[in-house]
Symmetry: C2
Subunit: 364 residues, 2 copies
């Protein structure tokens, strides 16, 4: 069998720096564990715009469709803020999600013990936190038509459309229930069914799938505003949170911040199985391109390395190697090794982006 | 001149209990301060549905249009969860907002010093917090058409429409800038302009109004997901947050929870000036109907009393009396008087809903 293939799209800002550390891990897996990947690299976001005038070329899109998994760094930066909507760096990312049909975005919000004091929340509220947010990623108001800025009478109107079909809801709901089975057997489905009809349909479809196919899973429904509150108040009440594209965008960032260390949070975006049985997949850190610290060796590569660990688990059925990488990271943190974002009241051993990568490889 | 008029719509759950305490304050203002209101009362939400089969009758709607200010308690409860969308308790509230055209929803998130330890956030992150969220309340996805559940091919699709005209954005932006002038001179405008065209128009209109008419106000723009993060991370960076109906719903609940005491948070919903110069207005606590504790004397009436204080300030130009009420509440809290929701590690003097109202009147 051919080696599994990876496409690295490092993107903008700190993207290339953090991705360089992932390459060290990939190298280690090849050298020491006989797990060799065919790795190719290309441009996305502002970097692609600078080279080609678009945030993602058709050629890169085709490559992404052909590989087993895409690893993405981050996109965007102030340099591109004034670009037209259609060529903004974000459009490259959104095109990948949409055309690869990566409908299930998995965003774990985990609080690392060594870092619990970094949270703005009290330690006992967040210590041991382990939430999995499953966000629908290819539908809803991000992609619904009609959309745009139109003229009506003598003024303009901005329009976007929230749109969910039963099957779009059903497939991501199944992803959430499947994950819950391997975790705490609990799903909280989040919408605004008290205000939006799309939320009523969402609630109904999710409940039906639970009743028919996952009777062993505890399912509750929560309004998005209440969920934001509950995340701040008692986040440990949650196991899996299932929600739509826009609510998921906001709630997952809120949950991420509870952990106190955005530089630590990975994500996986999964679609339907390909011919080889692997899901279409893209992995990326939750943090952005952080242009303010780019190129200074200050970035924390852990979120991106953990995203690669998710790739090992969800795309390559190598949960053992994923767990090994996660354990190495916990060890390095417990040893007090800290990138700039993790330097706190407890001191620690300051390292650069590259230093952190080296420590993790050493711990492996 | 005739006495100013108030319509009390106590609603469901704890609504009537907390409103009873506001009536004590109204009585005190009449007796001791010569400020006499013409008070009428009516039904809204589940209570209206039980009596009339609709969550708000046309007669009540007409009364609300005719008075100087509406005081609302809370609506909803499990008893009504299975009702049709069109007659759910929430529809009564949404009809009031829409038909009175209450486009500016003011939601202060303030952390009371005596209660800072109630927050799930660390004391230094939230002590002294004082944010004003200005949420657009009559447009956006809450009211946009088309909306509903439709059949397409062999499945159903749920659709809602996010819709903002320039003038809808402009008027609420002005409300935010006016408020900022009397506060910290800073507005953060929140949308998802990186993903939604309605957000692009929002950003453009807000910036234009700032540049033309409020050059002294510092304006920054923030994506909604980042705002959720920043609220959790460093909430004191904000002065006035200006945002749309749906983002405002979620972010204001998130901000509310930072303060640690939902039972303390008031809101004002304001529209255009009426013939007498007063704005159309409705005042209500941020908390819900809390059916689980209804009728037990456990509810905290302070949010509703503070909402009435906002009425004195924004509808009746009696900021002096509003400040007096707020000071009385601070004193009662500093004395350790506590409803059940405020009983914490520091102990305190437990009181009922009614007891809290009496203490506040005594402190006046
Ligand atoms: C960059 C942006 C388009 C994106 C989104 O809104 O989905 C980001 O916030 C995310 O959550 O991945
Ligand atoms: C009750 C509900 C319709 C309402 C809303 O979504 O606006 C509530 O959450 C609020 O924020 O006032």
């Amino acid at each position: 069998m051919a080696n599994p293939s990876l496409l690295i799209l490092a993107g903008d800002g700190i993207g290339p720096e953090v991705m360089a550390e992932v390459k060290k891990i990939i190298g280690w897996l090849g050298d020491k564990r006989g797990l060799v990947f065919d790795v190719s690299e290309d441009l996305v976001g502002g970097a692609a715009y600078d080279a080609h005038g678009v945030p993602l070329t058709d050629e890169t899109m085709a490559k992404a469709q052909a590989v087993d998994a895409v690893l993405l760094g981050a996109v965007g930066g102030p340099k591109y803020d004034t670009l037209d909507f259609a060529v903004k760096p974000e459009r490259g990312l959104l095109r990948l999600r949409k055309e690869m049909d990566l409908y299930a975005n998995l965003r774990p919000a985990q609080c690392f013990d060594a870092l619990a004091d970094f949270s703005s929340l009290k330690r006992d509220v967040v210590a041991g936190l382990d939430i999995m947010i499953v966000r629908e990623l290819t539908s809803g108001v991000y992609f619904g038509e009609p959309r745009g800025i139109f003229t009506e009478g003598n003024e303009r109107v901005g329009i976007n459309t929230q749109r969910y079909t039963e099957s779009q809801i059903a497939r991501v709901a199944r992803s959430a229930f499947e994950l819950a089975k391997r975790r705490g057997n609990k799903v909280t489905s989040v919408e605004k069914a008290n205000v939006m009809e799309s939320g009523i349909l969402w609630r109904e479809v999710v409940q039906k799938i639970r009743d028919e196919d996952y009777p062993e899973i505890a399912l509750n429904h929560m309004y998005a505003d209440n969920c934001a509150m509950q995340l701040v108040r008692t986040p440990k009440q949650f196991d899996v949170i299932l929600t739509d594209n826009l609510f998921g965008d906001i709630l997952s960032d809120c949950a991420a911040m509870l952990t106190g260390s955005l530089g630590m949070l990975p994500s996986a975006s999964l679609g339907a199985p390909m011919a080889n049985g692997r899901p279409k997949a893209m992995y990326e850190p939750v943090h952005g391109s952080a242009p303010d610290i780019a190129g200074q060796g200050k970035a924390n590569p852990i979120a991106t390395i953990l995203s690669f660990a998710m790739a090992l688990r969800y795309s390559f059925d190598r949960g053992d190697e994923a767990t090994r990488i996660e354990a190495a990271i916990e060890k390095v943190l417990a040893d007090g090794i800290r990138t700039a974002d993790l330097m706190g009241p407890d001191g620690g051993v300051p390292v650069t982006t590259s230093g952190m990568g080296d420590h993790i490889v050493a711990a492996l």
